[in-house]
Amino acid sequence: MPAKHHVLMIFALPILSLVTMISLAASPALQPQEADESQMTFKLDPVHCMANFRVQHMGAGMFWGRFNEVTGQIVTTDEGKVPVSFDVVIDVDSIDTGTEKLDRTLMGPNFFDGKEFKTITFVTEGITPVAGSDSKWTVTGQVSMLGVTKPVSAIVERTGVNGNAVMKKAGYEAIFSVKRSDFGMSWGVDNGALGDEVNLVVGLEGDWSV
């Protein structure tokens, strides 16, 4: 082979490779990968996340409690402003009602059975925007508690996104209600000692960094 052809090959091969790479990158088959790259995953910050619950006591007052250990992640697009999914894990042992005796009772087998079922989880199945709002979504998913998995629907509001190109914080708040008897937590429902419907307000704050 003449030397001129060798020189041509040396230049032609890298150029051909470059052209191939550019054309492949532009092909429709790789579009989803580009979309994934635009997603931002915010790791939940347990210090600034909490799950508050409210339930009626003895048919009278509304009694509040919360879980302090909330972990998981929020996957978003549009720089953290639009949620794609929420994966949330609540540590049952972190229950806090302000009274140790009540914490023990709620941790016990009549309620959250925290020794046997150590976590409550939420996995997202779908998200649709609330009509007329650019900061609220209806999030559907599966809640697993006491070994029972049930679908739930929550209204989630973006409370804020802040940061820069290197690190960001995103905040969301979910409001929904569940019937505790659906998960087998029926103690006190029939005799009215404690309400069946539990209202939840879950505050989430996640961190993202490069």
Partner: protein
């Protein structure tokens, strides 16, 4: 609340006491030896099963939640008490084998209940119970049942039912302090039925409670105490040795089976035995009272602030 009291406590106690009245007081039945010997065991088991049913409903098999073993244990205790009443005359090594076999069966329940021939690693009987904890339960059941059967052979009448009534009361308080309301009620049912047995025994000519009933009383006390220890977050007042004191209190009757106490008038000997069993239980009750009353509570400042926001 009255409906809860009625279904979870009063009706099970009445059912258990009714069985006792039939077995020990009704003339035609009390003459049938195996019925009389198994009456207390059956009464306790039925009372516990009814109370569990009212509190938690019927569990699946094997139980999806570990407290389901309580119901299954209660149901298993009925034929167990009856069967043991037929072995009343069998001596060494039957009593020892009975205790050991019961302990092994209970300890291996998670494996026995596995439907597959080679089950995957089964869930423990109660949460966080390792192999050593299962082995300990086997030995505790074996030891407790053997000693209690031996005691029942030498001590007839109200002494043993009274001792167990006292211990079940202490256990009920411990379960309440640990935050397991249903178990507290179930221990209360067992205590009331044992108390009724002590009362009926006075009018029934001091019957032998039988080795079946003795084994059921001791077995349920040990089994439920283990359930409470592993299923709840016990307060600092309810330590492992508090449970040991409660569960071991009936065994204090063993050294009191001596010539000195036996020579005393029967009422005097009865009260000495009862007081000796009651001392550790009363001490436990005094110790755990703050946990039951909620005096040891302390809330976080953040929670207090949040509560104020909603007031």
């Amino acid at each position: 609340m009255f409906v809860m009291f009625l279904l979870s406590f009063l009706l099970p106690v009445l059912a258990g006491a009714g069985i006792l009245a039939l077995g020990w007081l009704a003339p035609p039945i009390r003459k049938v030896q195996w019925l009389s010997l198994s009456t207390l065991g059956v009464g306790l088991s039925v009372g516990l099963a009814l109370s569990y049913l009212s509190e938690s409903g019927l569990p699946s098999y094997p139980p999806a939640r570990s407290e389901g073993w309580i119901m299954l244990a209660a149901l298993a205790c009925i034929p167990f008490a009856v069967l043991l009443s037929f072995t009343e005359k069998l001596e060494f090594p039957w009593v020892e084998l009975t205790g050991l076999a019961t302990g092994v069966v209970v300890g291996l329940m998670p494996i026995i209940s596995g439907s597959e021939l080679l089950p995957e690693i089964p869930k423990p009987l109660f949460p966080d119970m390792g192999i050593m904890a299962h082995a300990k339960l086997v030995l505790e059941l074996a030891f407790g049942i053997i000693i209690t059967i031996r005691l029942a052979q030498v001590r007839t009448g109200p002494t043993l039912p009274t001792a167990f009534a006292i211990c079940f009361t202490g256990a009920s308080a411990c379960a309440m302090a640990s935050g397991w309301i249903s178990l507290s009620i179930m221990f209360g049912v067992l205590s009331a039925i044992s108390g009724a047995a002590a009362l009926f025994a006075r009018f029934a000519g001091s019957p032998n409670i039988g080795r079946g009933s003795a084994a059921v009383s001791a077995g349920l006390l040990i089994f439920l105490a283990t359930a409470c220890w592993y299923k709840t977050s016990a307060p600092p007042e309810v330590t492992w040795w508090v449970w040991v004191l409660l569960v071991g209190a009936p065994l204090l009757l063993l050294p009191l089976e001596n010539r000195v106490v036996n020579r005393l008038p029967s009422a005097g000997a009865y009260w000495i035995r009862v007081i000796v069993v009651a001392i550790p239980v009363v001490w436990v009750l005094v110790r755990i009272f703050p946990a039951i009353a909620g005096e040891a509570s302390s809330g976080s400042d953040e929670m207090d602030e949040m509560m104020k926001m909603y007031q």
